[in-house]
């Protein structure tokens, strides 16, 4: 074991660094052709709850010629010791240094994890910039939701993988092996994978800028490099590889249960939500597949709980059948079902009671906006009537805790919309007290959470200027002042963090140095309140001469070349522009199942687009 006992005893949760979990894959590293490091740029407990890791870990390890091992970001206490004593970053399966691995694949889950990526590369003694690496370094690449705007990390990653891992990873591994067998170099490999669907190799593209700062051109410098890279999606989600096992951690993590993916994509088209656009089209697994997979995963893990994971599980076509089927399967096996947030109606209430989610838990709604007008702008279909009727039903069933999620800073927002958040919450409290006293065993507790809207690439709002920090804070203060009831608790997100997220989300290659500089100055675990150092970022922006407002708070024109225009997610820019126009006119768009708006995802010819 590389890290000696005496060090492990000094750090928080030493089990973060020992591996040895149930269902960990053990292989002889000398017997494989490719050593692959799956790097999750956050702490162990967060990374181990990531479903993508579970799927890709077993997907890659099913190949005899590949050994996929896991690497997480060491916590700050361990990092300090590693640097003091020069312990290199190591994988959990073999506890070996990852410098000599063939691939290090990072998953980009959220923008504020990027300083952790740089930290991990540095701890592994891998040069941070792609151009500085040589034949002794692993190939560094990234995938995941934030990869759809790859540009902020374009000078760091050797390549990006756009889309679902099951589609092209095998081919990439095969090409790598062939290349190695003929003593090919990193460069020849990177050129060879240009022909693989879903692969973007940044060094084969040149960007030029106008004097005013916008992108002037973005063109390939290699004839083999495609002008646009289309994401790849799994066609048959029933037949595609899905693991029969799950890594079961030895310590508590965020999700200590079987996570079963029900479907990919989302049909709702909420205009602020990037996931809803980049994961289209909706592809559902069959009921039988899900029951089979749930049984296998419970058997091989020993977990006592199973949860259904999708962007909007309640929209699954046969949801009632699935929920009932799972209950039948597991209720006498002492396995509980963890339900996602559901629309509150008679069925879901009955379901929640059966599942004994119990009145201990809270009802959750995500209205996102305080007025119906603004909800229509963002295309969030929920109405005040839905919420109040749902609450009434639930309150009479014994529930007394409600959680509501909102955003401030949405396009066309006015003071009235913010005040609407308070009045909606007060209406819920009133609703509770409308019930006869005997039914009100506990006082009602309403929690409102408001986050700061960050416009994301590939959404209709991608041209929208984000609110500046002071504006966000004023809106939060106003909302706080307006809430009167003692039964309402209001929590809000850090505006400074949100605007930095805005910088990176719609950033280009020029902000890479800001991220690196912030890391140099000590930025780590920026997504964690206790570690977020805003001043470090302010300094980094100053040192690099970058104006955050240009990226986060500037209104972009429809004809501007956006840093992510060379990526094709299926949904067209024309559609997004049309959605933005509809938003301004407060016109809603129906869900994919009810009406096909020909967004462009139909070009994949799969899933809900071709449903009868």
């Amino acid at each position: 074991m590389m890290i000696p006992d005496e060090i492990l005893l000094q750090v928080e949760k030493p089990a973060r660094y020992i591996g040895n979990e149930i269902n960990m894959v053990v292989k002889d590293p000398k017997s494989v052709d490719i050593r692959f490091g799956f790097c999750f740029p956050d702490v162990y407990e967060v990374g181990m709850s990531h479903l993508g890791l579970q799927i890709l870990y077993y997907f890659l390890n099913r190949r005899e010629d590949v050994y996929c091992e896991r690497i997480f970001c060491p916590w700050t206490d361990m990092e300090k010791i590693m640097r003091e004593k020069s312990y290199p970053l190591f994988s959990l399966e073999t506890l070996e240094s990852i410098k000599s691995f063939d691939f290090l694949g990072f998953t980009l889950q959220y923008e504020m994890s990027y300083t952790n990526i740089i930290n991990m590369l540095d701890l592994a003694s891998v040069p941070i910039y792609s151009k500085d690496r040589d034949e002794s370094d692993p190939i560094i690449f990234a995938g995941g939701p934030c990869a759809y705007n790859p540009e902020p990390l374009a000078e760091i990653m050797d390549f990006f993988y756009l889309g679902e891992g099951e589609v092209s990873l095998d081919l990439i591994m095969d090409i790598y092996k062939e290349n190695k067998a003929v003593s090919g170099t990193r460069d020849t490999f990177l050129e060879k994978i240009l022909s693989v669907d879903g692969v973007y190799v940044p060094k084969f593209y040149e960007v030029t800028y106008k004097d005013t700062g916008e992108i002037n051109s973005f063109i390939p410098n290699n004839p083999k490099a495609p002008k646009k890279i289309k994401k790849v999606i799994v066609k048959d989600v029933d037949k595609v590889f899905y693991p029969e096992k799950q890594l079961v951690p030895l310590i508590e993590t965020i999700h200590d249960r079987v996570t079963l993916e029900v479907f990919r994509g989302c049909m709702r088209g909420c205009r602020f939500c990037q996931a809803g656009y980049v994961y289209r089209p909706v592809r559902e697994k069959k009921y039988e597949t899900l029951i089979e997979q749930s049984k296998t995963l419970i058997e091989t893990s020993g977990h006592e709980e199973i949860s259904l994971v999708s962007l909007s599980t309640g929209d699954y076509k046969e949801f009632e059948k699935l929920a009932t089927g799972l209950l039948d399967e597991f209720s006498n096996k002492k396995v509980s079902i963890s339900l996602p947030s559901l629309r509150i109606d008679a069925f879901s209430l009955e379901l929640m009671e059966k599942v004994q989610e119990v009145r201990k838990s809270s009802l959750t709604f995500a209205p996102e906006a305080g007025t119906q007008r603004l909800r229509d702008v963002v295309n969030k279909g929920i109405t005040e009537k839905d919420i109040l009727d749902g609450c009434k039903l639930a309150f009479s069933g014994g529930w007394s805790r409600v959680k509501l999620y909102f955003m401030v800073g949405l396009p066309t927002e006015t003071e009235e919309d913010i005040l609407g958040i308070a009045s909606l919450s007060e209406s819920i409290v009133s609703k509770y007290y409308e019930m006869p006293k005997e039914l009100r065993k506990k006082p009602v507790a309403v929690t409102i959470g408001s986050s700061c809207f960050v416009p994301k690439p590939f959404t209709p709002f991608q041209w929208f200027p984000q609110d500046e920090i002071e504006i966000f804070m004023e809106k939060q203060r106003m909302l706080k002042r307006t809430i009167k009831s003692k039964q309402i608790r209001y929590t809000y997100h850090d505006a400074k963090l949100s605007v930095l997220e805005g910088l990176i989300a719609r950033g280009d290659r020029r902000i890479t140095k800001v991220i690196v500089r912030a890391w140099e100055l000590g930025a780590r675990f920026d997504g964690w309140t206790e570690h977020f150092k805003y001043d470090v970022w302010v300094q980094a922006l100053e040192d690099c001469g970058i104006d955050i407002k240009f990226y986060a708070n500037r209104k972009r024109e429809y004809d501007e070349i956006l840093p992510w225009d060379h990526i094709d997610i299926g949904v067209t820019k024309k559609y997004l522009i049309n959605e933005m126009e509809k938003a301004t006119a407060e016109v809603i768009t129906e869900n994919c199942r009810d009406f096909c708006g020909k967004c462009g995802a139909q070009s994949f010819g799969e899933g809900i687009c071709v449903e009868q």
């Binding site: 005496e6 000094q10 040895n20 960990m24 030895l250 310590i251 091989t300 020993g302 002492k334």
Partner: protein, 239 residues
Amino acid sequence: MENVERSLLGRAFVLNSKYRLKFSKTDRMRFIGHLDLMTLFRRSIKKAVLPVAYSQGFNPHQLMSFALPLSLGVSSIGEYLDIELEIEVDENIIKDKLNEVLPLGVSIIDVAHIEFSKKTAASLLVGAVYSVKLDKVDNLDNAILELLSKEEIVVEKKTKKGLAMTDIRNDIYDIKKIDEFTIELFIATGSQGNLKPDVVVAYLCQLMNVVYDKYKVKYERIDLYESINGKFVRLGDWE
């Protein structure tokens, strides 16, 4: 039918079968704490498909009880766990099935079917033996003799109410030197008195005039003891 009792209402119910398991916790598994170990066993019992009995009520949990929590970082070759199964299962099957699913570092050493009326391991416990590999020594033999010759050893001990000065001499049953750096401690634990080995080792280092580095000293629990007719007997020495 044995093990069947009839309640006042005349309905028959069968008593669960109780088993005492002896297991080890070594290697990388030293670094998970007691609560996580309990979760590991719960999951492993499920994975092994053992017919474990559950408690009644709103939040049924597996009927399982550990003899004594093991501090994080300490290894052990003598841990005990009592479980109740709904039906009788052969001890070897229990041992093999669990060992099949447990990760490297936790291993079932022995399984014994015990009387349902037998008290839990936790309640029977009176002492524990620890093997300690010291980092620094100086006249170890003398220090041991000196310690054992004392009538009273007062140290600062953490109690529920905070720190208190306590006499721990009676909780130290014996200390033996095994080799130049290794000693064995036999100390009180359980309902009689609860002494942690590091308190004794820290005191011993004081007597030797060496620095006690808690990160460098290695502890391993060897076995747990109950008292039968005034004699110390290992929990695993089944009748």
